[in-house]
């Protein structure tokens, strides 16, 4: 049997039962579309976060509290807060950094006239802008005197300013944070998002004010700094400095004894890479399960098809089809089904990836990168072909093994 005949015979058989063929491949279509979508979102997220992180610059160092038993990761709300302004001072005095700035966050009700909503407040100091450069739309940024004197002054994110005051310059206006009145001294230019936080929906007040008046605490969430020299060496020296400040005896450099954690932008990049890979594996595994389920569906339908077409198989054998020719016909049918399903899945997955990517770019994360993974498309086509072969072989063998006399007698 020629390959042309093989494919046209298989194709004709599938077309004879169009609606069944379409329903059969639905599992594969959904599975492959899911794989493409997952890979697109996974790779897009990784690229997005990496670009956000690398935008920060490779000389950036963070110090955050740590219970010692883990490295970096999401902050633990119950962890003992061990980083404070004394650490900040020690870092400034060390001469290792060009600038150092603290950060302490909370979300509290903020009101102005009829507006009243929960908004994130960032407590920091005058050096914040030298670490994360930001332009002023109106007025001025925090100054050293504001921090030193626990001033009730606030710099607004551009979206908050627009919401409360429209297009006008709000400098000099007063807003309420919790129940205290704060004077607006400036508005930042639009900054977009960083680490999934919308910076334009934050307000910024002196770190001393947020510690004493808003939260009543003496710690900070983390300290950011720009290193002057070699980043690895700076981190090393910073760890010694912190141990000194915290009175930790740790001659063997054992991170589990520290109550703080020093990290750099590069560490974050590495961690994100690992998280990205794990996420991709996890999501792909789920999608792979759906593909296996789809494959079992194909096998099931092919078995039904073999039973239904027993007489046809008997006839084909009677007119000269060999074991191999029947086997090939049914295998090609199942591979055509899965391959076709795979291609439709790739198409759907790509369209969905593009749609969701566009949605993210237009409404949530303007710097999101839309990725329609080309390698995943080839992988999907290959995987669906393999599914067709693997799940098609059993029904095809059943068909090929039928005895022609029994098959012709079958009702």
């Amino acid at each position: 049997m020629r390959y042309q005949d093989l494919f046209s015979t298989a194709g004709e058989s599938l077309l004879r039962t169009k609606s069944r063929s379409v329903l059969t491949i639905l599992g594969i279509v959904i599975g492959i579309a899911a794989v493409i979508l997952m890979l697109s979102i996974g790779q897009g997220a990784e690229k997005y976060i990496l670009s956000e992180v690398s935008d920060l610059g490779s000389d950036l160092v963070f110090v955050e509290p740590s219970s010692g038993d883990h490295g970096s990761g999401p902050p633990d709300p119950f962890m003992e807060q061990t980083v404070d302004l004394d650490d900040l001072e020690a870092m400034r005095r060390s001469g290792l950094f060009s600038s150092v700035s603290p950060a302490l966050f909370t979300t509290v009700p903020i009101s102005y006239e009829e507006f009243n909503e929960f908004i994130q407040v960032r407590g920091t100091d005058q050096f914040y802008a030298s670490i994360f450069p930001v332009e002023m739309l109106y007025g001025v940024d925090l100054e050293g005197s504001d921090v030193d004197s626990y001033s009730n002054v606030v710099v607004l994110g551009s979206e908050i300013a627009e919401e409360f005051f429209g297009d006008r310059d709000p400098v000099g206006e007063r807003i309420k944070i919790k129940s205290s009145s704060y004077r607006v001294i400036g508005v930042y230019e639009k900054q977009g998002s960083r680490f999934f936080q919308n910076l334009d929906k934050q307000v910024t007040i002196p770190v001393t004010t947020i510690q004493r008046d808003v939260l009543g605490v003496d710690y900070v969430n983390f300290i950011s700094a720009r290193a002057i020299g070699d980043i690895e060496q700076t981190k090393e020296e910073l760890r010694y400095l912190m141990r000194d400040t915290h009175n930790i005896d740790n001659p063997n450099d054992d991170p589990s004894l520290d109550n703080f954690f020093v990290s750099s932008q590069e560490d974050a990049t590495e961690t994100i890479g690992v998280i990205g890979s794990v996420l991709t594996i996890l999501l792909s595994s789920i999608a792979a399960i759906s593909l296996v389920v789809g494959g079992i569906g194909i096998m099931n339908i092919m078995l039904v098809s073999v039973t239904e077409r027993t007489r046809e198989i008997g006839l084909r054998k009677a007119v000269g089809a060999t074991f191999k020719e029947i086997l090939e016909q049914f295998l090609v049918e199942s591979v055509l089904l899965t391959l076709f399903g795979g291609l439709i899945g790739v198409l759907f997955g790509s369209i969905l990836s593009w749609l969701i990517g566009s949605l993210l770019v237009n409404f949530f994360l303007p710097s999101w990168v839309i990725i329609v993974p080309l390698d995943a498309m080839f992988l999907a086509a290959a995987v669906s072909t393999i599914i067709g072969l693997v799940f098609g072989i059993y029904p095809a063998r059943r068909a090929a093994q039928l005895s022609p006399t029994e098959a012709l007698r079958y009702d």
């Binding site: 006839l315 054998k317 089809a321 060999t322 074991f323």
Partner: protein, 238 residues
């Protein structure tokens, strides 16, 4: 005397189902020469269909010798038997066995798909076979749009298309009315006149009278083997 087309020596066929052994054929010996029109007659369960399936390489024998064109069929593998079916025999079934959602043309071409003719040869052979059964006007119709008689004509064309050494017809009039059955039997008789070898299994005496030789089978053995000098043409009745 030339080599017979088919030669059977003491062939038996047993079917084993668990502990039960059924003797379908119990030692049959006969020959069929090229150009004969043989009717194999017998009641239900006599073994006539089994005999035809063995003759057409669809089934195998338990004991004995079956020589086709002088070659011992037992020496062939399953794949070789399949190729033999493709090249040497054509089948006509009681239930027609057409692919219902394929056209007349596609149905008739089916045996050639498993051969190795060029596309031009296939088209030519198929057209000739369609013409031989006068179905040219219906060649693009689907087989489920045809009447019973037309279906059997298509089946006959399909049996002819590979230019076989022998055509096997298993109760070819079984699903047809008297008039249509008569036309089909006339067609088979015409093919015989043109030189084709035909083996027809039937339980109808009237149908058997179209053949040049009648072999009567009962309980798996040949009861009689007679030449039929008074061959019937037309006037078949059920």
């Amino acid at each position: 005397m030339s080599t017979p087309l088919m030669k059977f020596e003491n062939i038996t066929r047993d079917y084993v189902n668990g502990d039960v052994v059924t003797h379908a054929l119990g030692g049959i010996t006969f020959e069929i020469q090229k150009g004969e029109f043989v009717a194999i007659m017998g009641p239900s369960g006599s073994g006539k269909s089994t005999l035809m399936q063995i003759m057409g390489f669809l089934d195998t024998i338990t004991e004995g010798t079956y020589l086709f064109e002088g070659k011992n069929v037992q020496d062939f593998s399953q794949d070789q038997l399949a190729k033999f079916r493709q090249q040497k025999v054509g089948f006509i079934f009681q239930a027609f066995n057409l692919l219902s959602k394929s056209t007349v043309y596609q149905n008739i071409m089916l045996p050639l798909v498993y051969g190795n003719l060029s596309k031009t040869q296939r088209v030519q052979r198929t057209s000739e076979a369609i013409h031989a059964v006068s179905m040219d006007h219906r060649k693009n119709h689907f087989s489920n749009q045809l009447s019973g008689g037309e279906k059997q004509r298509v089946a006959i064309a399909r049996a002819l298309v590979n230019e076989p050494s022998v055509i096997f017809a298993d109760e070819p009039t079984g699903n047809l009315d008297t008039k249509t059955g008569s036309q089909i039997l006339d067609l088979l008789a015409d093919l015989h006149t043109q030189g084709h070898t035909i083996v027809m299994v039937t339980h109808e005496e009237e149908a058997a009278q179209y053949a040049s030789r009648i072999l009567r089978v009962r309980d798996g053995v040949i009861e009689s083997d007679q030449m039929n000098g008074q061959r019937r043409r037309g006037g078949y009745r059920k």
